[in-house]
């Protein structure tokens, strides 16, 4: 195509290939190019000029959308389908962390020392804060003659009671005390019983039975982690429950990599028919 013919602009010299490339790329015009091209090069340089203040307004809105999309941590954009197996592996860790966080609160700790939590949680409590481990046997009948070998349950119940006295609710205090009194052989013997309580591990075989207790149905779903409450298909992160904000597969949304997109193509044909 003879692109050197442009009769409308008789004063304008032809723009050679190298000059054209330089003008478009914003590089120095080749030596010997027509002086008339200088103002053009300057105009093009202005087009590429430094950002003006008003061109940097509106960032906040886009950043808000970005924050919403990528939300809290960095798991947001990963694909849910493939996170299934890792999630199972993660669950105990998260549950433990959540349980630890929760157990550090007075009331639950009391329940843990009282052996009143569901078995998994009780086991965690045992590991983390030295509460009695969950047992499988019914509680031994309270005997008034406590032997030295009952150090473990005694310690747990006494610690629970001590804790409940300070941090527990009235109900928790009542539960902890009545359980302790039952083991000690009466409300009046509690102080003496606890005076000789041994720390856990002394005789693990004598673990007390976790009773169905104050709050409990015994379901493991008492775990505090949000995803333990019956959303097996959810992402591990809390924001995954807000379905609309997280696109499951980013490929569905835009077509970032493919250049001529369908609507692009239709726009093009529009463009052509309009001429």
């Amino acid at each position: 195509m003879p692109n050197f013919l442009w009769p409308d602009h008789r004063d304008v010299p032809t723009i050679g290939d190298t000059s054209l490339a330089a003008l478009l790329a914003g590089t120095e015009l080749p030596p010997g190019s027509a002086p008339e091209l200088r103002p053009l090069a300057e105009a093009l340089a202005e087009l590429r000029g430094q950002p003006a203040t008003d061109e940097l307004e509106g960032e906040a809105g886009t950043l808000a959308a970005f924050r919403n999309q990528f939300g809290a941590p960095r798991i947001a954009h990963r694909r849910p389908a493939r996170t299934q197996p890792p999630r199972r592996r993660l669950l105990p860790v998260k549950a433990a962390a959540a349980a630890a966080a929760l157990l550090s609160l007075g009331g639950i700790a009391t329940a843990a020392y009282a052996g009143a939590l569901p078995a998994p949680v009780q086991r965690l409590a045992h590991d983390i804060i030295g509460a009695p481990p969950p047992g499988r046997q019914p509680a031994p009948t309270p005997s008034s003659a406590r032997s030295v070998t009952t150090g473990d349950p005694a310690y747990g119940l006494c610690t629970a009671w001590a804790h409940a006295k300070v941090h527990g609710t009235r109900r928790q205090r009542a539960v902890a005390f009545s359980r302790l009194a039952a083991v000690a052989g009466g409300a009046g013997k509690v102080t003496a019983y606890c005076a000789t309580a041994a720390p856990p591990g002394v005789s693990p075989s004598q673990a007390p039975q976790p009773s169905p207790a104050p709050r409990g149905t015994g379901r493991p779903s008492l775990l505090p982690a949000p995803h333990a409450s019956g959303k097996p298909s959810g992402l591990p992160s809390p924001h995954s429950t807000g379905a609309p904000s997280v696109r499951p597969t980013p490929r569905d949304t835009g077509k970032p990599s493919g250049l001529p997109t369908p609507s692009q193509t239709s726009a093009r044909s529009q463009d052509q028919t309009a001429r």
């Binding site: 195509m1 692109n3 442009w6 409308d8 602009h9 004063d11 304008v12 723009i15 054209l20 478009l24 914003g26 008339e36 091209l37 103002p39 053009l40 300057e42 105009a43 093009l44 202005e46 087009l47 590429r48 000029g49 950002p51 003006a52 203040t53 061109e55 940097l56 509106g58 960032e59 809105g61 886009t62 950043l63 959308a65 970005f66 999309q69 990528f70 939300g71 960095r74 947001a76 954009h77 696109r247 980013p250 490929r251 949304t253 835009g254 970032p256 990599s257 250049l259 001529p260 997109t261 609507s263 692009q264 193509t265 726009a267 093009r268 529009q270 463009d271 028919t273 309009a274 001429r275």
Partner: protein, 184 residues
């Protein structure tokens, strides 16, 4: 353009780094607005914001280098501009042409502009006087920094046609500059 660091900036943004995304935005938005203020002058800011929202939504799935990124950004914005023009027009098939240059209110209002940017606005008005297709090609090549082949794909035209349009557009600009003796 961001250049060498682009890859790591993009990766960080895709990983949720707001700072990194902000850098992409601050790099891309001025160019995007200059393009849109010529091809969709009445809705440039809105269209730019819409385009960014769409880019944010697809960001995690984007793969490509800086040319690809720019191409995606401008393609998205162009599509939004066309949608917007259609929405505003009773005759959708002519919408884009009608909003395209020729009588654009890009003329700088000097009172609103910092002195150093009057040149940019004047240059944009100059481009806006070109036939629409030439104006768009010039903007995509010069302002968006896209290469000829990318612009051709974006516009759905042949690389040769785009090259010719660029050449004609530049000559026309030079002609206007010579006739009007404009000093930018």
């Amino acid at each position: 353009m961001i250049g060498e660091e682009f890859e790591s900036v993009l990766a960080a943004a895709q990983d949720g780094s707001e700072v990194a995304f902000s850098r992409l935005w601050r790099d891309g938005n001025p160019a995007l607005l200059r393009y849109l203020r010529v091809i969709a002058p009445e809705a440039a800011e809105d269209v730019a914001a819409d385009a960014w929202l769409q880019v944010v939504r697809g960001l995690a799935g984007f793969r490509g280098d800086e040319q690809g990124w720019r191409a995606w950004l401008f393609t998205t914005a162009r599509r939004r501009a066309i949608d917007e023009a259609r929405r505003r027009s009773r005759r959708p098939e002519k919408a884009l042409e009608e909003t395209l240059p020729g009588r654009l209110p890009v003329a700088p209002d000097a009172a609103d502009l910092a002195l150093e940017h009057i040149g940019t606005r004047s240059a944009m008005s100059l481009v806006a006087r070109l036939p629409p297709h030439q104006a768009e090609v010039i903007l995509l090549r010069v302002v968006a920094g896209l290469d000829n082949e990318t612009v051709a794909r974006l516009l759905g035209r042949s690389p040769g046609a785009v090259r010719v349009a660029a050449h004609r557009g530049l000559r026309a600009m030079a002609g206007i500059l010579a006739e009007t003796d404009v000093t930018l």
